[in-house]
C-alpha cells in the first residue's frame, strides 16, 4: 500500500511535512515526543474512470497534525479536500479507487488496518463532521439516539446510561432545552442546531482528532460565525486536534495554526498561519489573499477570486497545473512540474516550522498584491 519512495525524476528533495525531526518549541511539552498525532505521507487517491485514464484526485499529499493543533486544508471546490479527509477516515467508496501512501495516526498506519480495526477508531479516536448538516443526519432517528449511539458503541454504555451524557453534550454545544431536543428529529431543528448536534456526536467520545469538512458552508453567515466560535472553544477546551477543511480564508484566519493550500490535488504552499497571511509565496495563495480587503474581513467570503476556475487546470505532468490561471508565469511553468520544497527564501518567524512551496516563480516578499 505505501509508496513512500519518491519518483526518480525528482530534482529537489520533497519538503519534509513538518516531520518530527524539526524543532518546534510551540509544540514542546505536548505528547509529540513520539511524533505528530497524524502524519499523512504521500497520500494519493486515484479514481478509476471507464475508458479513460485514472483521475488523480489527491496527489502525493503529505502533512502533519500535532496533538491539539489546528491545521487548515484550504483550496477551492474540487481540489481534493474532501477526498483527502475521506481517505484518512477510510470512508471512500469501497470500489473504484486506489489509495496509496501512509496515514499514520499515533504511529499506526490507518491504511493498513482492517475495516474492523478502523471501525473501532472512528468516532472514538478520530471523528468527522460534514458540510451539510441536514443530509448528514438520519431523518427517521431521534437526535438523542444519534448522539448516544456513539457512546453506546465506544464506551459500551446502555442506551439508558448514555442518554444523560447525550443530554450533557447537547447542552455543551449550546443547544437550548436539550431534554426536548433529545427526542426530536432532524427536520425539527434549525440548520445551526443540526450542525451543533453533529458536533456533539463527533465530540461524544473525546476524540484526539476532529476533521471538519467545510462545517459552515451550508449555513447562514451569522450562524457560521457561531459554529466556528463553538468549534474553536470546544477544541481548545478538550485539546482536540482539528483539521479544518475550508475554501473560506476567513475561517483559516480565525482558527488555524498551520495552513496547507491545495491546488489540483496537490499541496502548493504550507506555512504557519501568520506567515502565510503576511507573506504569501505561491501566486495562488497570493490571489486568494488579495481578494480579502483586510484580514478582519467579514467571514463567509467566497473563495473564487483568482481568475478562471478549476476547469482551466492542466495536468501536473511536465507543467504546473495552476499555470493557465497564474498572473506571473515563466517558461518553466509549462515545461517542468514544480516540486514541493522547503522554502528557504521565505521569511519565517523565529521558532516556526519551515515553510514549503511548489512554485517556479514565487512571489517575492514585499511584492504581495494587496
Amino acid at each position: 500500500m505505501s509508496t513512500a519512495a519518491s519518483p526518480p525524476d525528482r530534482r529537489h528533495p520533497t519538503a519534509p511535512a513538518d516531520g518530527p525531526a524539526v524543532h518546534d518549541p510551540a509544540a514542546a511539552g505536548r505528547s509529540d515526543a513520539t511524533g505528530p498525532l497524524l502524519s499523512v505521507r504521500n497520500l494519493t487517491v486515484r479514481f478509476r474512470r471507464q475508458g479513460e485514464e485514472d483521475f488523480v484526485a489527491v496527489d502525493d499529499v503529505s502533512f502533519d497534525v500535532r496533538a491539539g493543533q489546528t491545521v487548515g486544508l484550504v483550496g477551492e471546490s474540487g481540489c481534493g479536500k474532501s477526498v483527502t479527509s475521506l481517505a484518512i477516515m477510510g470512508l471512500l467508496p469501497k470500489r473504484g479507487n486506489t489509495v496509496t501512501g501512509r496515514v499514520d495516526f499515533e504511529g499506526i498506519d490507518l491504511l493498513s488496518l482492517s475495516p474492523r480495526q478502523l471501525r473501532d477508531r472512528r468516532g472514538r479516536d478520530i471523528a468527522m463532521i460534514f458540510q451539510d448538516p441536514l443530509s448528514s443526519l438520519n431523518p427517521v432517528v431521534p437526535i438523542g439516539v444519534q448522539v448516544s449511539e456513539v457512546i453506546e458503541r465506544h464506551v459500551g454504555l446502555s442506551r439508558a446510561k448514555a442518554r444523560p451524557q447525550a443530554r450533557e453534550l447537547l447542552s455543551k454545544v449550546g443547544i437550548p432545552d436539550p431534554d426536548r431536543r433529545l427526542s426530536e428529529y432532524p427536520h425539527q431543528l434549525s440548520g445551526g442546531m443540526r450542525q451543533r448536534a453533529l458536533i456533539a456526536m463527533a465530540l461524544a467520545c473525546r476524540p484526539r482528532l476532529l476533521i471538519a469538512d467545510e462545517p459552515t458552508t451550508a449555513l447562514d453567515v451569522t450562524i457560521q460565525a457561531q459554529i466556528l466560535a463553538l468549534l474553536k472553544e470546544l477544541v481548545q477546551d478538550s485539546g482536540t486536534a482539528l483539521v479544518m477543511i475550508t475554501h473560506d480564508l476567513g475561517v483559516v484566519a480565525g482558527l488555524c495554526d498551520r495552513v496547507n493550500v491545495l491546488y489540483g490535488g496537490r499541496i502548493v504552499e504550507r506555512a504557519d498561519r501568520h506567515e502565510l497571511f503576511a507573506t504569501p509565496r505561491h501566486p495562488y495563495t497570493n490571489g486568494l489573499l488579495a481578494s480579502i480587503p483586510r484580514l478582519d474581513a467579514p467571514r463567509g467570503q467566497r473563495l473564487s477570486p483568482v481568475p478562471g476556475s478549476v476547469a482551466d487546470n492542466i495536468p501536473w505532468d511536465h507543467a504546473c497545473a495552476f499555470a493557465p490561471r497564474c498572473d506571473r508565469p515563466v517558461a518553466a511553468c509549462r515545461e517542468v512540474t514544480p516540486e514541493l520544497v522547503t522554502d528557504e527564501a521565505a521569511p519565517s518567524a523565529p521558532g516556526g516550522l519551515p515553510r514549503a512551496l511548489r512554485c517556479h516563480h514565487p512571489v517575492e516578499p514585499g511584492q504581495e498584491s494587496r
Binding site: 477516515m89 470512508l91 478502523l118 471501525r119 473501532d120 477508531r121 472512528r122 468516532g123 472514538r124 471523528a127 468527522m128 460534514f130 451539510d132 443530509s135 448528514s136 443526519l137 438520519n138 431523518p139 427517521v140 432517528v141 431521534p142 439516539v145 449511539e149 456513539v150 458503541r153 465506544h154 428529529y185 427536520h187 425539527q188 453533529l198 456526536m201 463527533a202
Partner: protein
C-alpha cells in the same frame, strides 16, 4: 393521528359506496345472467320471466340497487344462486375468508422474508453473482403467469414427485377439529400437530405460486431503495461514528430504505387478491378467490357483490394500515 384515521375510514366508506354503484352497473351489463346460468339457454320465456321476478331482476336497475343497498346495510346480501344455491352469500364469503387470509398471509410471509434480505444483500454486493442472479429470478418471477406457475408446481411437486398434496386445505382422512377456520392455527390450538402439519403442507405450493410476483416486486424495490440510501450522507456519518455493521444496517440503512417498501407491500396485497383467484382455482383451495371464479362463471350476483365489495374494502383498509405504518416509521410525516 386518531383524527386522521377516522377521516380515512369515512373516506373508505365513500370509496366502497361508489365502487358498489360501478360494480352493480357492470355486473348487470355482462352477457348472460343468473337466469340463463340456472335454467340453461333452452328454458321457455315463461319460466325465465317467473325466475326473474322471483330474483327481483325484472325491476328497474336503480330500484334493484337501492334494494341491494338497504339489505346490504343490514348484512343481508341475498342467497347464492350458483356457488352454493340457497346459501346466504355473506355466509359463503365468511366461511371461505379464513382460507384466503391464511394463504395470502403465508404467501406474503414467504415473499417478504425472502425479498427484503435478498434485496438488501443484492444492493450491498451490487454487481456480484448474487445480485445478478436474484435480478434474473425476480424478472422471471414477474414474467411467468401465476396460473402457469401454479400448474407447473402442482404437476412437478404434487402429481409427479408426490412430495406435497395436490389440492384442498386438509387431507380427507384427518378428523381435524375446527376452531377459527384457519387450519394451521386450529391444529396448533387443539394440539393436533398432524393436522397443523398437514394443513401447512397443503399451503406450500399455492403459497409459493402466489408469492412469486410480490417477491419479485418487493425484491426490486428493496434493492433500489437500499442502493439509494447507501449513497446518503447520513450513512457516511454513521460510518464515521464507527458504528457496528448491525446498527448501520438496521437503524440507518433499512429503516430509511423500508419507507417505499412498506408502500409496495401494501400495493402487493391487492395483487395478491387477484393472484388468489387463479391459484385457489388450480389447487381447489376453497377460499374466496375460488368462490370469485366460480360465482363469475355462474353469474352468481349475490356472491359476486359480497366478494368484490369485500375485496375493495380490504384493499382500502390495507392502504390505510400502510399509511399509518408509514407515519410510524417516518417522523416527517407524523410531525408535519
Amino acid at each position: 393521528m386518531a383524527r386522521y384515521i377516522v377521516r380515512r375510514l369515512i373516506q373508505m366508506v365513500g370509496v366502497v359506496l361508489v365502487l358498489s354503484v360501478l360494480l352493480f352497473a357492470w355486473l348487470r351489463s355482462l352477457p348472460g345472467g343468473p337466469v340463463s346460468a340456472l335454467l340453461g339457454e333452452r328454458a321457455t320465456p315463461e319460466t325465465r320471466a317467473a325466475l326473474e321476478a322471483e330474483l327481483g331482476l325484472d325491476q328497474p336497475l336503480w330500484m334493484q340497487y337501492v334494494k341491494f343497498l338497504s339489505r346490504a346495510a343490514s348484512g343481508n346480501f341475498g342467497p347464492s344462486t350458483g356457488v352454493l344455491p340457497g346459501t346466504d352469500a355473506l355466509k359463503i364469503f365468511l366461511d371461505r375468508l379464513p382460507a384466503t387470509i391464511e394463504l395470502s398471509l403465508f404467501a406474503m410471509i414467504i415473499a417478504v422474508a425472502l425479498a427484503i434480505p435478498l434485496g438488501y444483500l443484492a444492493a450491498r454486493r451490487r454487481g456480484s453473482a448474487l445480485d445478478t442472479s436474484s435480478i434474473v429470478v425476480s424478472l422471471i418471477g414477474v414474467a411467468v403467469p401465476v396460473f402457469f406457475l401454479a400448474f407447473l408446481l402442482k404437476y412437478v411437486f404434487a402429481i409427479e414427485l408426490h412430495w406435497l398434496p395436490v389440492s384442498g386445505r386438509q387431507s380427507g382422512g384427518l378428523d381435524a377439529t375446527r376452531v377459527t377456520g384457519f387450519f394451521v392455527l386450529d391444529g396448533l390450538i387443539t394440539r393436533e400437530w398432524d393436522a397443523a402439519l398437514d394443513a401447512l403442507a397443503h399451503l406450500v405450493l399455492p403459497a409459493v405460486a402466489l408469492a412469486t410476483i410480490p417477491f419479485a416486486v418487493i425484491f426490486r424495490i428493496t434493492r433500489a431503495s437500499v442502493l439509494e440510501v447507501l449513497d446518503e450522507d447520513y450513512v457516511r456519518t454513521a460510518e464515521a461514528k464507527g458504528l457496528t455493521n448491525r446498527v448501520i444496517r438496521g437503524r440507518h440503512v433499512l429503516r430509511n430504505a423500508m419507507l417505499p417498501v412498506v408502500t409496495t407491500i401494501g400495493l402487493q396485497i391487492g395483487a395478491l387478491l387477484a393472484g388468489a383467484v387463479l391459484t385457489e382455482r388450480v389447487f381447489s383451495f376453497g377460499g374466496i378467490g375460488e368462490a370469485l371464479a366460480l360465482s363469475f362463471e355462474q353469474r352468481d350476483y349475490a356472491v359476486l357483490q359480497v366478494l368484490i365489495l369485500a375485496a375493495a374494502a380490504i384493499y382500502v383498509l390495507v392502504n390505510l394500515i400502510v399509511d399509518v405504518l408509514y407515519a410510524v416509521i417516518d417522523p416527517r410525516v407524523r410531525t408535519r
